[in-house]
Symmetry: C2
Subunit: 138 residues, 2 copies
DNA sequence: TTTAATTACCACCTTTCGGTGGAATATACA
DNA sequence: TGTATATTCCACCGAAAGGTGGTAATTAAA
């Protein structure tokens, strides 16, 4: 049970940029402080920029940033969605296509509960919430 | 956020064998009812047998089974552990090696809570619990 | 206008996971 | 003891995820 490595990278970068909101960082700088492979990180940042999660400026002294006034608009689920998608949260763990609340597999209720809890966490916490250490549990 | 496909296969097989406890099934039979690739399933069953989660008999009329009196001894965590391991449940999601309750990363508390909930689910539900539709939440 | 620092893009490499093929071995039973 | 039906084992294949290298495009500033 885990997020993809890429997802962890994405969250790591976004949290860092949030902590330093308004400041611009080159991939080089991010690579040095965040321990994510340079080239891979470059591609990831590009992806996050295209999804609108970070602002980018090209050329010399360019780089990526998150504006302070956007912190409360960027939620964890958007970061996860940008890199690995959210499909996994609606599949039966036993792979039964007809699995539902009415026709549940042996793990349905159990599994639903966990999935919903994680979903809730992702949907109810913005970068601002994380910084405030003001985590929303539901 | 997801289990490996192999883990889903393993759970699927174990639940099926639990529902038919005491009956022996060849890989061929399991393959037909469970929609898991024949050869891959063979290897998986072998793995589960070696970990002691199923009983195996070789040769003609051989196959795999779970004894009814073991249903309450086999927990979900053992199945997960047998195929993908349990390491992931103790790593910082932001990859900070020094992350701990005392020195938490921005997601520590939030993430801990989810992980612990999943762990609890895996550690407190045996095959017997699943069959009873008597899921234990903690 | 040149240079340096940067992102963007494209192709490829490596590792891991999921999946396949084939032969060796085991076993029940006719 | 022969045969059919199993598991076991080993090597390989293919796809996806993670990671690298090189070059073109962009931009600030000397």
């Amino acid at each position: 049970m885990h997020f993809r490595k890429t997802t962890e990278y994405a969250i790591r970068v976004m949290v860092f940029l949030a902590e330093n909101a308004g400041k611009r960082f080159s991939v080089n700088a991010l690579n040095k402080t965040l321990d994510i492979p340079y080239k891979y990180l470059g591609r990831l940042m590009n992806q996050l920029a295209q999804k609108g999660l970070v602002e980018v400026t090209q050329g010399k002294y360019g780089g990526y940033l998150v504006n302070a006034d956007r912190l409360s608009e960027i939620y964890l689920y958007q970061i996860v969605d940008a890199v690995e998608g959210l499909q996994d949260y609606d599949r039966c763990i036993l792979g039964f296509p007809q699995c539902s609340d009415e026709n549940p597999c042996a793990l349905h209720h159990l599994w639903m509960e966990q999935r919903e809890a994680i979903k809730n966490m992702l949907y109810s916490n913005s970068l601002a919430d994380l910084l405030k250490n003001n985590f929303s549990r539901r």
